[in-house]
């Protein structure tokens, strides 16, 4: 089966690279929702988070966070969305997992808002009982501290980006 995202990962389709290591790749999306839209994905063909090794998911999140800050500042955005869609009804287009980082501006024509649903109290209680299993879900402290990529240590740069983001956010009521 051919997968468009696998072609990005293998370099068969050449795109503007934002990050790469052995396991993951980040590029500007060739099908962007907004200018500067980035995608971060595992190189291996894996569709959803449960299939991706935890260490790889962590790295995807770290890179998405870094890119979010960098691109936000560079495009002069007013916000960013970080999104993962799993499954066709959720809007996933390829059976290859990815994290989207989408710079946002007011009146950019995008909207990911939702109407609020009223859920009856007894249905809420049922859902709660159903989901409230998860002792097994506990995230154990990692037995070995993963090697910190040198690349993520640039605190100075990061702080600057953070400040910038915060300035933008003062408008939140």
């Amino acid at each position: 089966m051919t997968c468009e995202i696998c072609d990005y990962a293998s370099g068969k389709v050449k795109l503007k690279k934002l990050y790469e290591d052995e396991e993951i790749l980040a590029v500007f999306s060739p099908k962007p929702a907004a200018f500067g839209h980035a995608i971060v994905f595992p190189k291996k063909h894996l569709a959803i988070l449960p299939q991706i090794p935890e260490e790889v998911v962590k790295k995807m999140f770290i890179v998405a966070q870094q890119l979010s800050g960098m691109i936000f500042e560079a495009v002069g955005a007013e916000g960013t969305n970080i999104m993962i869609s799993e499954g066709v009804p959720a809007g996933q287009k390829h059976a290859h997992a990815m994290v989207h980082v989408i710079p946002r501006k007011k009146d950019d024509g995008l909207s990911f808002e939702w109407p609020q649903k009223q859920i009856p109290e007894d249905s809420m209680a049922k859902i709660y009982e159903l989901l409230k299993v998860p002792q097994e879900m506990k995230v154990e402290k990692p037995s070995e501290v993963p090697k910190e990529p040198e690349t993520l240590k640039k605190e100075g740069v990061k702080e600057k980006v953070k400040d910038y983001l915060l300035r933008q956010l003062r408008r939140i009521p």
Binding site: A9, A34, S68, F72, G79, K117, E150
Partner: protein, 187 residues
């Protein structure tokens, strides 16, 4: 913790909520104004306005929780999909000054729209933008060769190991939801 912030209150327990998961860093609670039934809010116990403020350790923790919530949903709720969503800033749809990772189970015909549209872009503008951004990228990621073609994932050498892994995966799938079902939806 921010005394004024209701989500800090929910995370600390001073405001009651239906918690389905809690550890020292995060809680996951049922949203009382959900987009869909079982919509979860994953909140950090520390007060951060936006995702970008989270220290590395907490981002990694959130990633691990996200993976587990996805597993939990697919096993227990059997949705047809899930959206994970973070809004940074009002322009992105952020409503409260506390970083929230939304986990929204999806069903076809549920009336929600998280489809990411494709918009035209000026390639020349992007070229110029990329050249400018490269300086920052190189600061952040000095080990990455931005000029080189992306390299295909390396194949594992030990075939046996791979088979072993495949077996493990199969076992997991038998025990829980068949993840293949999800992948098959695309074909």
């Amino acid at each position: 913790m921010d005394q004024q912030c209701i989500f800090c209150g929910i995370a600390s327990g001073s405001i009651p909520s239906k918690k389905i998961y809690e550890d020292d860093k995060v809680v996951a609670v049922l949203d009382i104004y959900p987009a869909n039934p079982a919509h979860l809010l994953i909140l950090t116990k520390n007060h951060y306005a936006i995702f970008n403020q989270l220290p590395k350790e907490e981002v990694e923790h959130l990633a691990a929780i996200c993976k587990r919530i996805s597993e939990l949903f697919f096993r227990v709720l059997r949705p047809e999909g899930i959206n994970f969503f973070i809004a940074n800033g009002p322009a992105a749809g952020q409503k409260a000054p506390h970083m929230i990772l939304h986990a929204i189970p999806r069903f076809s015909g549920d009336g929600l729209h998280f489809d990411i549209p494709v918009n035209p872009q000026d390639e020349k503008e992007l070229d110029a933008f990329y050249e400018r951004l490269k300086k920052t990228l190189k600061d952040y990621f000095p080990d990455v060769d931005f000029e080189a073609q992306a390299e295909a994932p390396k194949e594992k050498e030990g075939k046996e190991e791979e088979q072993e892994e495949a077996k493990d995966e199969k076992k997991n799938n038998d025990k829980d939801v068949n993840l293949d079902e999800i992948t098959e939806m695309f074909s």
